[in-house]
Amino acid sequence: MPVSKLVGAKVRRREDPSLIRGLGEYVDDVKLPGMLHATILRSPHAHARIKSIEVSAARQLAGVVAVFIGAELTDQIGTIPTTADNPTLRIPKHYVLAADKVCYVGEGVAVVVAENRYIARDALDLIEVDYEPLPVVADAEKALTAGSPVIHAEWPDNVAFSWQQEQGDVAKAFKQADKVVAQRLVHQRLAPNAIEPRGVLARYLADANQLTVWSSTQIPHLLKTHLAQMLKLPEAHVRVIAPEVGGGFGSKLNVYAEEALLGYIAIKLEQPVKWIEERRENFQATIHGRGQVGQVEAAVKKDGTLLGLRYKVVADIGAYHQLFTPAIPPFTGLMLSGCYKIPAIGIELRAAFTNKMSTDAYRGAGRPEATYVIERLMDRVAKELNIDPVKLRQKNFLKPSEFPFKTATGLVYDSGNYQGALAKALKLAGYEKLRREQKRLRGRGRYLGIGVSTYVEICAMGPGFWEYGRVEVTADGKVNVYSGASPHGQGQKTSFAQIVADQLAVQLDDINVIHGDTASVAKGMGTFGSRATAVGGIAVYQAAAKVLEQARELAAHILEVDGDDLLFSDGRFSVKGVPRQGLTVQQIARQARAARNLPANLSPDLAADSTFEPSNFTFPFGTHICVVEIDAQTGRPEIQKYIAVDDCGKVINPLLVDGQVQGGIVQGLGQALYEEVVYDDNGQLITGSLMDYALPRAADLPRLKLARTETPTLVNPLGIKGIGEAGTIGSTPAIVSAVIDALTPFGVSHIDMPLTPQKIWRLCQTSKTSALRGRR
């Protein structure tokens, strides 16, 4: 690769000029002639039989074009898909609109199609549904208890799937332990809340039997395949377009009822139809993240050496599976070893059906849960053994010389330097000084806490999760880069252009990166799991490398020399020793079109594609340190300082990487302190709007201080690991740890998230020592 000029540089994004002017086209901005609007009637019951639905009044409202109900569609539209290769998996039939019964609040039962969205909304009020309420179970642990209400009659135990894994002699580890430290941990459900709600626009051209679906999706190609199956169309007749997508975070990595439903309606009515989700629908019927309750136990020696770990967990699935629902909880199991050498690990997972919306991938997807479990456990062990939490981690860390390392969860970590990231973070935080400050403040009745989280995570997926890239140099000197990745804010229109600009020695402005349209990009998987650059970028890099080779051969033909006599330097192919008579890649592309007598292996253009399938996950890692002060009178935690040292391998654009880490940290903060999806015992969604679900706001945080170490991965030639989720994974444990550390004088050893001021305040009040501490 030639000397990098743009890779590693802080380049302003090519995406921004249109977005900052409000010219970005999101799904709801796309208008088609004759477009109709759809709204969905959703169940107010968590579990009920549909005795009857009366839609005639709705159908008769002026401006209403059609109304469809679930029972009419069960043989028209395929069921909503899920993927998993777990033999214990039970898959309930999941229709796009409920036919016989509803199983969660928000499940769709009917759809109205009208001339405008106001009429469509009016018509919903005219539909009468006679429900027969059924017993509800909203708690996952309760659902697995004998005597619980049954959600799917075929499976009276409410078990969605189970998963066990044990490596190393776990029983022996616990027998040999000097101490066993146990902790029950709750990972509350979260609502991803991309600021753009979901939306779908479908248009069907009958003469060509061609369906086009615009969707706010992270996976246009995968969605195309599933829609073709659900609507019984040939794949070649389905086109999916992800226009500008306003955030995803995993919530749009899916195949949703509305996507197939709108496709069906467009085909039936032969008019374009659009559905845009309202925020309360997003809370009810877009996937939730996390949702695990577990007991973790560590077998340890007196000196702090970890001998073994056991994790028994119940995962809250919801009433149905969505696309990756069964795949998420096992990720937690895979990452339980964390940064540490733990010779024996046993995991027992049971997944429960509940009368709630499905859980599925949300930023981190199983890995935040794992990091939280292992990092909370380390803090608890440190406390029980009276060892400094940082020293305990250092003692059990994997050493750089121990890589590649096979964990007792079946993974092979390829590279890592956890000590390096920790040392850097401790220095930036002024850790020793902070501990002295903490002691001083405690003497004055002030509660400062310091939380350290050392994490490693898996991302970019591995075998089976390929990505596609294509590079073309046109005869007029432009470069088109096609990617199967589907960014929604991550900036690959810029970072991919940086990669190709350096490789082909062309100007950034001459490069156009295209993604999101299955008609323009031959194949792809999409953007999720921090893979757009780590996998998609490599496919683009490989394609560009092929183009460079083609350019060499064409240059050789044009210059009538041998390919080996050519040198690519300073952006030109020239004969060794005659640098002034060289050809740029763009010149070669132009001349290639007019070339004559081309050998059979050359074509008169410059274009190549490539697919990259990683051989393993990549393993970003780092250390986050959070400093918090608790106001004991209000319970309010105030973050004083936040340091993040993250290692994502090679960095293409530091601005983009910082942005991902900052955004990820704030989402982790949301989980730690503010956010929780709450259903009551009747399965009623209590947190149904932004008035009840607290998202982090600008005034809630101080400046985050970011730094990096760079330990390349061996999995791809550019050494890129991925960074999209690491911030979220590393942050939550650091923040929780800091708050609990602050409350040590009150005898607090654990609090479940979110650590709201009320929870904290109550702990301060009920503690015995509060009387001794006095008032501030």
């Binding site: 991803p192 804010g489 601005l655």
Partner: protein
């Protein structure tokens, strides 16, 4: 679809006088997006909590999802589309670009309008004042830090422009 209930309203949008026939219940944000064709203002929620729909109405920011179009009759609305002068970006837009103050871009128009109001009222805001001024605008992508950087940079560049 005109009905007897429709009201005739006139208002200025980005300096241009426009006339519309609207249902009394039509939201200003829908007027702007669906009728006037200005889709830069976005809808992110249904409880006026997210701020994606922020525009200026008669010199002050409003959440256009919670204003009826008829309430804006006779008034002046400034949307994101009205900030740039032809090819020339407003300094706030330029600063957002420079500082990577946006990722998916969905909250950005509302965020920029809130920043616009802040800098009109306070040309030298502190970091705390900036964070407070955009407290009504949710962003799920950036974590706000680069947005704060952008507003700080815009303040500096606007101040030096005012001096020069």
């Amino acid at each position: 679809m005109a009905t007897l209930l429709d009201k005739s309203i006139a208002l200025k949008i980005n300096g241009v006088e426009r006339r519309f026939e609207v249902e009394p219940r039509l939201l200003l944000v829908h007027l702007l997006r669906d009728v006037a064709g200005l889709t830069g203002t976005h809808i992110g929620c249904d409880t006026s909590g997210c701020g994606a729909c922020t525009v200026m109405l008669d010199g002050a920011t409003v959440k256009s999802c919670t204003v009826l179009a008829v309430q804006a009759a006779g008034g002046e609305v400034l949307t994101i589309e009205g900030l740039a002068s032809g090819d020339k970006l407003h300094p706030i837009q330029d600063a957002f670009w420079d500082c990577h103050g946006l990722q998916c871009g969905f909250c950005t128009p509302g965020m920029i309008l809130s920043a616009y109001q802040l800098l009109k009222r306070n040309s030298k805001p502190t970091e705390s004042e900036i964070r407070h001024a955009i407290d009504g605008n949710l962003c799920r992508c950036t974590g706000y830090q680069h947005i704060v950087d952008a507003v700080q940079q815009a303040a500096k560049s606007m101040k030096s422009k005012a001096r020069g």
